[in-house]
Symmetry: C2
Subunit: 240 residues, 2 copies
Amino acid sequence: MEGDGVVTAGEARRTLADELAGGVVQLIRERRLEPGAQMDTVRSMAERFAVAVPTMREALRRLEAMGVVILRHGSGVYVGENVGRSVLPNPHGPLLTSESLVDLLRARSTIEPPIAAMGATVRDPGGVERITETLREAERCLLERNERLWVVNLDFHRAVAQASGNTVLAEVVDSIVLVHGHEQREILRLHGDEDVDFAEHQRIARAVLDGDADEAYRASKEHLDNVIEAIRSRRPDLRQ
Amino acid sequence: MEGDGVVTAGEARRTLADELAGGVVQLIRERRLEPGAQMDTVRSMAERFAVAVPTMREALRRLEAMGVVILRHGSGVYVGENVGRSVLPNPHGPLLTSESLVDLLRARSTIEPPIAAMGATVRDPGGVERITETLREAERCLLERNERLWVVNLDFHRAVAQASGNTVLAEVVDSIVLVHGHEQREILRLHGDEDVDFAEHQRIARAVLDGDADEAYRASKEHLDNVIEAIRSRRPDLRQ
DNA sequence: GTGATTAAGTGATCTAATCACTCCATCGCC
DNA sequence: GGCGATGGAGTGATTAGATCACTTAATCAC
């Protein structure tokens, strides 16, 4: 993994904290620990690896940043969800600008349709189930005028990607949907049309569940392009 | 940014290190620091934020994990390339398995073609230039029988994504190309056909440079499917 | 059975010191 | 004058040890 993943201005030499992070990940693998599983304490890991506690902590902070471990104050160290993830959103990345919002939506409009088509072809059971759940929940939110709708709507897109049965694609969609997630939800809440969205989601879901890849592609593409257009018409500054 | 980005088994409470990481990023933004720019020292940042040095270091380790800063021993703290990135590969993610390799290649085969088509439509100058460079360099490596060819070949794919002029797409392709980068290169080196690859890359490049989106899509799709097939025929364990 | 209290365990942060590396200025030699 | 070596200052890296803050489980009282 040397030099891979992070392309930097000048490669810093590999530190003890870096090595330790690798050691912790190795430990997780050897023990086949699942997300949520408790690990050794910071102090016992420091002993195991024969380093000082603050040094061990530095390594764990690295892993915490990637969501590979969770440090729970007073409780212990736990394996995080992202231990099984290859692609992640960067919580310390750039702020959303009008330009980057358009980029983001355009990116989604480019890659989500073929992924939806693949979802229709593969129809992974977990993904299919989640599509059904998120649709049901969206309907509930719509009736109750619950603002959680915008969270659920983004989850719907993740569910469609999950139906592709392809972990990498699911993670990619996860990442682009989750990155600037708060802002995305706000913009959609202000400028989206919840009824149109729901109807379009239903159309996508039907196509996926029917195994109609072409229709899934079209439905997904039209939906996302409609979102872009709706936001553009209400936000002229986004016109590009 | 609360709760966004990292979906974890149970949300740990926000720590001082977490807050400090945000503070450092804020500093980078306020000063409009570019990647490579030197920041304040660890000690002076600890003073600025009124915390102890080890605590400041924990925060910086978080940011270092994301490639947002680089700590250079004896030199100082520098802004990293990933300060402007929203989507990242996880250097501490899962190991590549036969199954996940197929997933990864399939994922690439699904999303790179529409991105290549978009590259042909937009033809971002920086991306076009980089396509030309990487092709030239690949040709050089081919003549010299330089194993760097496999690095350059993956860079070619990144260049095509850059030609789309869409930052998010470029980052997504970056991430899936770079994740397990070493393994990808090894597998391709063992089972790939460098001449066929080169010819296919040339075809993709020509389509992008000619602004032929349909051809770019087809060329990209066929190339990646050929890669998958080539690897499959030589690695029966990957047959799925 | 439920709620309050206490103790033990564990993470969080601090202080202070020493070690390891980088960078730059100065000096010596050719 | 140019180049290489040396030394000092600055800066990151790691340690040791202490105290504080939180969680969890056990016990006790009602």
